[in-house]
């Protein structure tokens, strides 16, 4: 292809070419970083929580007076909830995945309990926990009724047995022999591992980045005794809508001296947790679409201007035998050269910017593939943008070369 004449012609339009290249470089730097951020967030949003999300709802319950027989009242509520037709199982607990508020305890590596390993989320459950959440046991067993103790707010007790997630198992027992081993907490307490579930997302795993202990959850066989408790209910398919009304009504029929709040299906808990991420993704998408549009218009504007400037030269080329396709190809080649040099600069700028951002804001490093993907998008877009002015150039009549001489 005739690159040399294109380059020679560009020498007459240095400033315009440099401006377009710079604009493309900045655009690419921004969109490659945005792509990488959007992808990280999507990845986070699509991680499984480990529970039967479609059939679970939750509500918080507080008694208005501070009753002294809390344990019995909770047991009564649970029996009532479990007896409702359409309910698979129900549980009184401290929190759910993605709920935001969590209890966390420090895990230790090794029996001397001095070496901190991770912060793990603590879920308080009884023998109904497995069925209520619809968890998948990958090894061992769930708790037996006689293992379930009692814990109050602010209390720390270490149960004799626990069930952990595979993430905890893999981290603390890389040999794969976690079942039956002892789980140590930092400074105090230890429990024997009797079961391993595939996964259970943490309550506070709501940020898009930063948390290194994402699926670190430990189930403890405790009845949480507190005025202010979360009831989690799992329903049979198709029963949820009816039970979202029936469950609070049933509880109210036991006593009206209570406040029921945050009655919501799990899908809503998830939506709330993902709100910030979704907002960011939409905003980045809109910003980048606008950015690409502006860059495309910049290319169109400048090329149109060049075409206007070179009408006579184009006419001469046509008169000397160049076909329309040759003129078209000339402008596309010119644009490709400018855009490609802009992209080279843009990839470098994008990686540099990412390094700088990663150092300050705990975001993941961008892989080169995002920069390349961004470069491809920009190149294709520029080629498309240049098509219209190039077609106008190709339609310049050869006769123009002879006019005005």
């Amino acid at each position: 292809m005739e690159i040399l004449p294109v380059l020679r012609a560009l020498r007459h339009n240095k400033v315009g070419a440099v401006l377009i290249a710079l604009q493309i470089a900045a655009t690419l730097a921004i969109i490659s970083n945005s792509l990488s951020m959007v992808q990280q967030r999507l990845q986070w949003m699509h991680r499984p929580s480990g529970i039967d999300e479609a059939h679970i709802f939750a509500l918080t319950n507080t008694w208005t007076a501070d009753p002294s027989d809390l344990h019995a009242r909770i047991a009564g509520d649970l029996a009532a909830l479990r007896s409702l037709p359409g309910v698979v199982d129900a549980e009184a607990t401290n929190t759910t995945p993605l709920a935001g508020v969590e209890w966390h305890w420090p895990l230790a590596r090794g029996s001397d309990q001095t070496k901190f390993a991770a912060w793990t989320a603590i879920f308080l459950v009884d023998e109904h926990g497995l069925d209520t959440y619809g968890l998948k046991l990958s090894a061992g067993r769930w708790f037996k009724p006689e293992e379930v103790g009692e814990i109050r707010s602010g209390q720390t007790k270490f149960p004799p047995v626990v069930v952990i997630t595979q993430s905890v198992a893999k981290d603390l027992f890389p040999a794969g022999n976690a079942l039956g081993q002892v789980l140590y907490f930092e400074h105090a307490g230890s429990s024997r591992i009797v079961g391993i579930v595939e996964t259970m997302q943490r309550p506070s795993d709501t940020a898009g980045w930063g948390n290194p202990w994402r699926e670190y959850s430990v189930f403890t066989p405790f009845q949480y005794v507190n005025n202010g408790i979360l009831y989690v209910v799992r329903t049979k398919p198709g029963e949820q809508a009816a039970l979202l009304r029936a469950a609070p009504a049933k509880l109210m029929s036991l006593t009206r001296e209570r406040i029921i709040e945050n009655l919501q299906p799990f899908s809503e808990i998830r939506r709330n947790a993902e709100r910030g991420n979704r907002a960011t993704i939409i905003m980045l998408a809109v910003l980048n679409a606008l950015l690409l549009t502006i860059t495309a218009f910049g290319v169109i504007g400048l090329t149109t201007y060049w075409v206007g400037q070179r009408r006579r030269q184009i006419g001469m080329r046509r008169a000397l035998g160049a076909r329309k396709i040759d003129i078209l190809r000339y402008f596309h080649t010119e644009n490709l050269l400018i855009a490609a040099s802009g992209c080279v600069l843009g990839v470098a700028l994008g990686l540099l910017g990412n390094t700088w951002l990663a150092g300050r804001l705990e975001i993941h490093r961008m892989s080169l593939s995002y920069a390349c993907m961004g470069a491809l998008i920009v190149l294709v877009l520029c080629q498309l943008a240049v098509l219209w002015p190039a077609l106008r150039a190709a339609s310049v009549p050869p006769a123009i070369a002879t006019r005005g001489l």
């Binding site: 400033v15 604009q23 109050r152 709100r275 907002a279 960011t280 980045l284 910003l287 201007y305």
Partner: protein
């Protein structure tokens, strides 16, 4: 006179190539709109919540956990104090305004209707004057009432309206938790965002609904919401909590004079050193005495998302301006002919330069108008995305334009467009009239 002429010619020239002009205005407008949307959010989040007092209100902190001292990082000092330390620090300068406080949450039982929970604050009598809380009726309690353990409460206008829909709340009795309190004041809607006076600034987006005397709350064993220690270190009984080293009380001190700040800081350091000497700590605890802006800094008020977004928006503005430079270059080169004629007829280079800049100024002004509209639209969209409803008036104010931001938006639009027009205008004014005219 001359300026009017410039404007006329500029308008005429802009009209001649409507497509290119529209493109320039759109580019400037979109760039301004996107970046100002983000900047408004950032400014709102970093704004000084109490400008006339932010350098006089201080939070004393002591590293009772030891982690900050071991890491030599004073950002890790617990944000709250143990109860007994808070009381001891209040004796350092007994004559200044100061208030110990903690967050509580109690159930309200209205005379009619179902009970509901409300967030509130147990705090000292000085709280209201320190933070300039506006009252709509009644008054705050005074030191005498606090010493006398009076059962009084100050309500937010929201809670007053909900609990006493038909009547004036002051003088009535309200049931909070297990006790009744006499309402002595109702404040006007007052909800600084972020709620900088609390250690957990983003909790309770609707603000505090009631204020109880600190001593009354302590005596009635009303539980705190935030304990800054592991559950293992928190005693279960109330006397244990009052004596424990678990931090759960916040202290604010008003120190109007620099000398007071110095002496308070020294006294705070001495207090910590003395505690170490007595064997309470195995480390020399780091201490901090932070004013409002330093305190906000440690709270890390601005979320990462907002920082990233505003960086991207700034990059966006840069791209739009490069774009504008290119388009303006194209525009002015297309006008080489008229400029040559004017030059040949006696206009100076300066005349042409100013003429071209006038054109960019018009583009900047129109771009600013478009940018303003887009900023307003962008903020409305952000409110929707982040789930801020219109009823949530104070949170909505975070994401809305005020007159200052309107002025800034306009100034940024005009200034940046003028800057981007400098080079194209300069080049256009260097036109060679003889050469241009000869080719025709």
């Amino acid at each position: 006179m001359m300026l009017g002429y410039y404007f006329q010619i500029a308008l005429h020239s802009l009209r001649r190539n409507v497509a290119l002009t529209a493109l320039m205005i759109a580019a400037v407008g979109v760039g301004i709109g996107a970046s100002m949307t983000m900047l408004t959010t950032l400014v709102a989040m970093t704004a000084d919540p109490i400008p006339d007092k932010s350098s006089q209100l201080f939070v004393p902190q002591i590293d009772v956990s030891g982690e900050a001292s071991k890491a030599h990082n004073d950002k890790w000092i617990p944000r709250q104090l143990p109860y007994h330390d808070a009381l001891a620090l209040m004796k350092l300068q007994p004559d200044v305004r100061q208030a110990a406080m903690y967050q509580v949450s109690l159930n309200v039982r209205p005379a009619q209707g179902d009970p509901f929970p409300a967030a509130g604050r147990a705090t000292g009598a000085d709280f209201f004057s320190m933070f300039e809380v506006p009252f709509s009726s009644g008054v705050a309690w005074d030191h005498k009432a606090e010493e006398g353990r009076d059962n009084v409460v100050v309500l937010s206008s929201r809670l007053a309206g909900r609990a006493f829909p038909d009547a004036e709340a002051v003088g009535k009795t309200i049931s909070l938790g297990k006790h009744d309190y006499r309402v002595i004041g109702v404040i006007r809607p007052w909800n600084p965002i972020p709620r900088f006076y609390d250690a957990d600034a983003w909790a309770w987006p609707n603000g505090d609904d009631f204020f109880l005397p600190f001593r009354v709350a302590i005596e009635r064993q009303i539980d705190a919401v935030n304990y800054d220690c592991d559950a293992t270190e928190l005693p279960l009984d109330w006397a244990g909590r009052l004596n424990s080293d678990c931090p759960w009380v916040q202290l604010w001190v008003e120190l109007p004079a620099a000398a007071q700040v110095r002496s308070f800081r020294t006294a705070l350091q001495n207090y910590a050193a003395e505690a170490q000497r007595l064997g309470r700590f195995q480390w020399l605890p780091l201490v901090a005495l932070r004013n409002v802006s330093e305190w906000l800094d440690t709270l890390g008020i601005v979320p990462n998302e907002v920082r990233v977004d505003s960086m991207i928006a700034t990059g966006f503005l840069v791209v739009c301006l490069i774009n504008a430079v290119g388009l303006m270059l194209a525009k002015f080169s297309g006008r080489a002919m008229d400029l040559s004629v004017r030059r040949a007829l006696g206009a100076s280079r300066v005349n042409l330069f100013v003429q071209c800049l006038t054109e960019t100024l018009i583009v900047g002004l129109l771009g600013g108008v478009l940018g303003l509209a887009l900023t307003a639209a962008g903020l409305a969209a952000l409110r929707g995305l982040r789930g801020v409803s219109h009823s949530d008036a104070t949170a909505a104010q975070l994401l809305s334009l005020d007159m200052k931001m309107v002025a800034i938006t306009f100034a940024v639009a005009v200034l940046t467009t003028l800057c981007s027009g400098l080079y194209p205008a300069w080049r256009a004014s260097r036109v060679q009239p003889g050469w241009q005219l000869k080719t025709q």
